[in-house]
C-alpha cells in the first residue's frame, strides 16, 4: 500500500560521517538522563547500601553486613507479602483486562451517546487514590456504611474486616480506579485498526462476534501487552490506596510488599530490612517488565499488517 512507502524512504542509511548525526543529538537526552540519575539511580544505590546497614531512621547508621537480608529472607512475612502482592496483581489483571477491553471497544465507536458515556467512564481517573479509599471505606463500613444505611443485608458484610473479602475489595477498588485508564488505551488501539479489515470480513460473512475474536483481538496484541505491563508493574507499587483502605489488615491479609516495606521502615524503624525489601521490589518489578517485553517482543518484526 502507498501508506507504507514514506518510512521506506526515510530509513536509508545516513550519508553523514559515522557518529556525526547520532552524536550531535545525544545532548538532547541529557536533561532526562540527569533527572533519572539524580532521582532514580542514586536513591536506588542508596537503598541498596542501606540494606547492608542497621539504622533506626534518626540515629547513626551502622554497617551490619547481611543481617538485614538474613532477617528479611527468613521472616515468614516475606513469602506472605509476595503472595499477597502476586494475588493482587493477578486478580486485578484478570478483572481489569476483559473489562477495559470491552469498554474500550465499545467506546471506540463514534456514536454521540458513546462519547457522552466515555466522559462519564473517565471520572474515576480524576479522583485521587486516598480520596477513593476514604470513600469506599465509609461506604463499606459494616455499621454506618451503605449496607446498613439502605437496609440491604447483602451489602452489610464485614468487607474490610474479613481476610478474603478485604483482598477482594482491594482488587475491586484498584480495578474501579484503573479500568477507565486502560479502556482509554484500548479505545486508541481499536481506532487504529484499519476499517478495511472489517469490510473484508463482512464480505466474507463474518458476524460481529467472529470479527471481534478474529480481527479486533489479534490486532490489539501489542495494546494488550502495553496495558498488561502497566497493570502488572503498577500493581507492585500499590500503596496509598491499600494503606488508607485497610492498612494491610485485617491482620496481614492485604499487606503487599510495598506496605510491608513501609511498616518495617517507618513504623518499626528498621530501615535496613525495609531497604532490603525495597531492593526485592525493584528486582521483581524489573523481572516482570522484562518478561512481559519478551512475551510481546519475540516476533516484534512480524507485521500485523499482513495481507494489507
Amino acid at each position: 500500500m502507498t501508506g507504507l512507502a514514506p518510512p521506506a524512504v526515510r530509513v536509508r542509511p545516513p550519508t553523514t560521517p559515522a557518529g556525526g548525526r547520532g552524536g550531535s543529538l545525544a545532548w538532547m537526552a541529557l536533561p532526562a538522563l540527569a533527572v533519572f540519575v539524580a532521582f532514580g539511580l542514586i536513591p536506588l544505590f542508596g537503598v541498596l547500601a542501606l540494606s547492608f546497614t542497621e539504622w533506626d531512621g534518626i540515629g547513626d547508621i551502622h554497617p551490619a553486613g547481611l543481617d538485614s537480608w538474613r532477617a528479611v529472607l527468613t521472616d515468614p512475612g516475606l513469602p506472605h507479602a509476595l503472595w499477597v502482592t502476586f494475588l493482587v496483581m493477578a486478580l486485578s489483571w484478570a478483572f481489569q483486562t476483559p473489562a477495559s477491553l470491552l469498554i474500550g471497544v465499545f467506546l471506540a465507536g463514534r456514536q454521540r451517546y458513546r462519547e457522552i458515556l466515555a466522559v462519564l467512564y473517565f471520572i474515576p481517573l480524576l479522583l485521587s487514590s486516598a480520596a477513593l479509599a476514604i470513600t469506599y471505606k465509609a461506604l463499606l463500613d459494616p455499621n454506618f456504611g451503605i449496607g446498613p444505611g439502605l437496609g440491604i443485608p447483602l451489602l452489610a458484610q464485614d468487607w474490610l474486616g474479613s481476610a478474603n473479602l478485604a483482598l477482594g475489595v482491594v482488587v475491586f477498588v484498584v480495578s474501579w480506579q484503573f479500568i477507565p485508564f486502560h479502556a482509554l488505551i484500548y479505545q486508541g488501539g481499536v481506532r487504529q485498526i484499519p476499517v478495511a479489515l472489517y469490510e473484508a470480513a463482512q464480505i466474507d460473512g463474518a458476524g460481529r462476534l467472529r470479527q471481534f475474536f478474529s480481527i479486533t483481538l489479534p490486532q490489539l496484541k501489542y495494546t494488550v501487552i502495553t496495558s498488561s505491563t502497566l497493570m502488572v508493574v503498577g500493581s507492585l507499587t500499590f500503596f496509598d490506596l491499600i494503606f488508607v483502605l485497610t492498612e494491610g489488615g485485617p491482620g496481614d491479609a492485604t499487606r503487599v510488599l510495598a506496605l510491608d516495606m513501609y511498616k518495617r521502615g517507618f513504623q518499626a524503624n528498621l530501615m535496613g530490612p525495609a531497604s532490603a525489601i525495597a531492593v526485592i521490589l525493584v528486582l521483581v518489578g524489573l523481572a516482570l517488565a522484562l518478561l512481559l517485553r519478551r512475551l510481546g517482543g519475540r516476533d516484534a518484526s512480524a507485521s500485523q499488517m499482513e495481507g494489507m
Binding site: 533506626d56 531512621g57 540515629g59 463500613d141 464485614d158 517507618f266 513504623q267
Partner: protein, 447 residues
Amino acid sequence: MANSSMSGLSMSRRGFLNLAAGAGAGMALAACGSSGPGQGSGGGGEASYWFLTAPPAEQIRTNTVNRFNKANPDTQIKHTAFENDAYKTKIRTALGAGQAPTIIWGWGGGGLKSWVEAGQVDDLTDWFAQNAAVKDRLFPASFGAATVNGKIYAMPCETVEPIVLFYDKRAFDKIGAQPPQSWGDIMDLVPKFNAKNIAPFSLAGQSRWTNMMWLEFLFDRIGGPEVFQAVFDGQKDAWSHPAALDALTKMQELVRANGFVKGFSSVVADANADQALLTTGRAAMMLHGTWTYGSMAEEGGDFVSGGHIGYMNFPPVDGGKGDPSNTVGNPAQYLSISAKATAEQKETAKKFFSTAVLDDTEVGEWLDTGGVPIVKGSESKIASSKEPEFLEFVYQTASNAKVFAQSWDQALSPTAAEKLLDNISKLFQLSITPQQYVDNMNQVIGQ
C-alpha cells in the same frame, strides 16, 4: 527559601515578626525561615510546636499557645496539629531529617527513649533542678515515663488518662442486667446483648492499640503487673508465662463469642467510629481511654449530657492474681525540646514550659472537658468543674491504683511495639493461636 532572602533585610527579624503577626501568610513565611537546623543564632527566635488533632484537646493546646504568644510578643511559638497515627511517623521522619519542631509532643516511654539514644532531644534534668517550682507542682508519678537512664528528657503535661470501661446504661436496662463485676459476668452478658441485637463491646480493631488495651488488663488481672514487666525488662521467653497464655486464650474466647461489634477489624479509632457505636446505642460497652469522654460529650448527642454514660474500672478475673485497683493508660503527655533547635528557640520553649503549660486557664479547660490535669491540687477544683462525677472517678482510679502501668506500645521501643501490635491484630483476627502469639513475641524480646 525565605530565610536567605530575609537575612538581607535591614529590619530585625523581631520587627518583621511583629508586623506580620496579624497576617497568616507572614507567619508561614517566618516559620519557613526558622525551621531549618544549623541556623545562626541571629535568626530563628520563633519556636515551633507540633501536637495532635482531635477535639477538644486540640483547641486547648492551641489556646495555650495563643495565650503564650499574646503575652510574649518577642518570643513566638508556631504550632501545627497532626492526626494521631500519622504523627508518629511524621515526627520520626522529621527528627531523622533534622527538621523537627522545637517542642515535640509525645507519649514518653519507649518512643522517648529512642529519641534520647539518637541524641535528638535535650536533657532537662538540670533545668528542672533549677526550676524546682515547675517540677514540684506536677504529679510525681508523671515523671516516670519522662525519665531515661535516670535523667529527665521531657516535661509532663496535660492530663492523666487511665483506660476505663465505659458503658451505656440504656443498654443494660434493655436486658435487665448490671454492669459486669468479673470476667465471668462479661462472658455471661455477651449472649444477652447479642440476643437483643446490641453489640456487647465496641472496638476500633484496625487501630490495633485499641485491641492491646484489652490484653493489658487481662494480663494484669490474671497474672499481675509483673507478667508484662518481665517482657519489658527483656527476660528470655517472658511471654511464655502461664498467665499470658491464659489471658490470650480468654481474649480469643471473647472474640469467638462475638463479644465485639460486627466488623470491628475495619473500625478506626481516629475517626471516633468506636465511640459513635457506643453513643448511638449499637454497642453496650467500650474499653477506652478517659480522653474519649470529652469527644463523646461533644459529638455523642445526649449520651453524656443525658446521663446515659456509665464508667468503671476493668473488673477482676476470677482467680486472678492482679490487684483490681491496678490500671493502665497514659500517666501524662510529654513535651521534649529538640536538640537541633537554636539556643533562642530552646529558651522560648523553656519559657513556654514554665509560664504557659498547665497554667490556671489550661487546667480549667482540661477539667471542663473531663480530663484530670497532672497538676497537684487540681482535685480540689473537681467539685466546681462541669463534670465533677466523672473527674472524681478518673482521679480516684488514677490515684488509688496500686500500679499505674504505661500503655505497652508506648513503653516498648517502636520496633518491639510494631511487632506487638501486628501480632495482637492477628490474635484478634483469630489467624494465630495464643501459642503462636507467644512464640512470635518471644523472638523480639529485648529489641
